[in-house]
Amino acid sequence: MRASYYAKALREIEVSGKIPEDKLVDHFLRTLTQNGHAHMLPKIVRSYERIRNHEEAQSTVEVTSASPMTEQDVQALLKKDPFRNVLTASHKKVIRKTDTTLIGGAVVRSGTTRYDASYKRMLLELYQSLISS
């Protein structure tokens, strides 16, 4: 039995809200002991955290810019190319971050997909193209 199977089952019941959280934990621990898999608990916790982090990353859009942006600036940015298709109905949160090393432009990240439209990347690409020619 894999720890991830327990973690997935736990998360799916939690999301469904079929039983209260304190009862769920109690039931889960009893089931684990009953199946003789109590020793797997640390692995299951890690796997559960992974699932939670993954879900959170999938439902969040992170926008990093060189100078602070307002909510309106971000909304306007996400309507422009190449970020036009980033924001979907599954996204629940937009996080704004500032990184002055980007020089200009923005980096948008959603889950495991990243769009890097920063000036820093463009200048690094220009540098690479100049030294390799």
């Binding site: 890097d116 820093k120 200048l123 220009l126």
Partner: protein, 522 residues
């Protein structure tokens, strides 16, 4: 000045930095050159990954940090990917972004590599300009199948009499060089590279010397030797020295094979030397243990045989329809205390098409190259041997085997019958004839000439302590007074009756001019 400014303006104006979506993951753990990465769900096995070492750094710092830090995905696990870092692993930090490239790890290949010393990623190590080639070859590639191949039929001369005469190597063959430390394994390989200078330019193979886990000082010495003799004009050195990470040492032979395949695919002949696969296996064992793969015999992972078989299977002689190119492989294995029955030596012996076995005892007796011809074999090279060499060296192996059996009786020679004495004397002569100094490979036609006269019973009374001098002087005589016989053998690759007679005449002339090199008859 104006020209440079115009060029820069054009480049800046034409640069089109498109923003594409990239698949990225996050480093969750890193230790011992292995990084664990979360989030790379679609990554392929052996895919090249780029660690974003410039993240959070200013442009100046990002530029100063140099080349991109690469990694290779090796363990695709349920929740994460384990990546071997191909460079300075100390730059890896927890939380660092890792970018998937969607490409299997590749190396630049092309004629531009000839004469260069590179690492397994194709980066120059010789202080020269960065390497730019039009093509890249994947480091791992499936070997050609039976339809694309043809039998080994063309010789690859090593310039070493004992090998070319008795253990001939053909183009496209895989011949193992095996022996303890300090027995001359690398010398055999380097002499083979040097001997290609004796081949006509159109038949000369491109040589690739792959140094795995060797000391930097040794590699520098080898490169200098190759340069001094002019052999770097057709040689590429791929090096992952002992100071390189285990991952680079693991990749080095595959990089060498990828470069060799480029020339083979172009219809040319290539020779690749893996020096040595024992250290390659050790590097792979280190990586596998760090990747937490289960250890097997001698703590090597279960796929250690496949590691070497898939590498050596890439050596091939292609059919005419495929261009007729070839890739010959000379892997080297270092044994401990002559133990060829250890795990890695037996594996590689069973994969290759024969082995050249070097012995410490022979080396210490002064028999150099210290090849034990009794246990050395070439399974396919015989069909690639030239007619001339076949003719003169056909009986050589048998005569030497008989001599080895009789050798024990040498000290009681006075009690032996005349026939046995003669066989012993002939054996002694042959052993002396097969001795050769290092880095002095002998062209094929000269080998044929000297082995012929030694076998034709015209040198039986030669002073055995002066055979090296006799050989040098005899070849000098042939070059000065009988150059046409050498040219005929080299061109026709046969030893005609006329050539045999000329060589016998040359011996008569030689005897007259050098009586001091022969024993006075009683």
């Amino acid at each position: 000045m104006e020209h440079i400014v115009d060029k820069l303006k054009k480049q800046i104006l034409e640069l089109n930095p498109k923003t594409r979506s990239e698949k990225v993951g996050i480093v969750t753990a890193a230790a011992d050159g292995i990084a664990e990465v979360d989030g790379l769900d679609d990554v392929m096995m052996s895919e090249m990954l780029v660690f974003d070492t410039g993240e959070g750094k200013s442009l100046e710092e990002a530029l100063a940090s140099g080349n991109a830090l690469l990694g290779m995905a090796l363990n695709l696990e349920e929740d994460s990917v384990k990546v071997v870092v191909l460079g300075d692993a100390t730059k890896i930090k927890e939380g660092m972004t890792v970018k998937a490239t969607g490409n299997i790890l590749s190396i630049p290949v092309g004629k531009e590599l000839i004469g260069r010393v590179i690492n397994p990623l194709g980066e120059a190590l010789d202080g020269g300009l960065p390497i730019k080639t039009a093509k890249q070859n994947p480091i791992e590639r499936k070997a050609y199948g039976v339809i694309e191949r043809k039998s080994v039929s063309t010789p690859l001369h090593t310039g070493i009499k004992a090998i070319d005469g008795m253990i001939p190597i053909g183009r496209g063959q895989r011949e193992l060089i095996i022996g303890d430390r300090q027995t001359g394994k690398t010398v055999v390989a380097i002499d083979t590279i040097l001997n290609q200078l004796n081949e006509p330019a159109d038949r000369r193979p491109i040589c690739i010397y792959v140094a795995i886990g060797q000391k930097d000082s040794k590699i520098a010495r080898i490169v200098q030797q190759l340069k001094d003799k002019g052999a770097m004009d057709y040689t590429i050195v791929v090096t992952a020295s002992v100071s390189s990470s285990a991952a680079l040492q693991f990749l080095a032979p595959y990089a060498g094979a990828a470069i060799g395949e480029f020339f083979m695919d172009a219809g040319k002949d290539a020779l690749v030397i893996y020096d040595d696969l024992s250290k390659h296996a050790v590097a792979y064992r280190q990586m596998s243990l760090l990747l937490r793969r289960p250890p097997g015999r001698e703590a090597y992972p279960g796929d250690i045989f496949y590691l070497h078989s898939r590498l050596l299977e890439r050596a091939a002689r292609l059919s005419d329809a495929m261009g007729g190119g070839s890739l010959t492989a000379l892997p080297i294995i270092e044994t401990q205390e002559n133990d060829v029955s250890a795990y890695i030596p037996t594996n590689v012996i069973s994969i290759t098409d024969g082995q050249i076995y070097l012995e410490t005892d022979l080396f210490n007796k002064g028999i150099r190259p210290a090849i034990n011809v009794g246990v050395s074999v070439s399974r396919v090279g015989g069909s690639a041997q030239t007619k001339a060499m076949k003719k003169v060296a056909g009986k050589l192996r048998l005569e030497l085997a008989q001599f080895r059996e009789l050798e024990a009786f040498v000290q009681f020679s006075s009690d032996l019958d005349e026939g046995t004495k003669q066989r012993i004397e002939k054996g002694k002569l042959m052993v002396e004839i097969l001795k050769q100094d290092k880095h002095v490979p002998l062209p094929f036609e000269k080998q044929v000439a000297i082995i012929y006269v030694a076998g034709a019973d015209v040198l039986n009374d030669a002073d055995k302590s002066k055979i090296a001098l006799l050989e040098t002087k005899f070849i000098a005589l042939l070059e000065s007074q009988y150059p046409e016989v050498l040219k005929t053998i080299a061109d026709s690759r046969e030893l005609s009756d006329a050539s045999q007679q000329t060589l016998k005449d040359a011996v008569v002339t030689f005897r007259g001019a050098n009586p001091d090199l022969f024993q006075v008859s009683k």
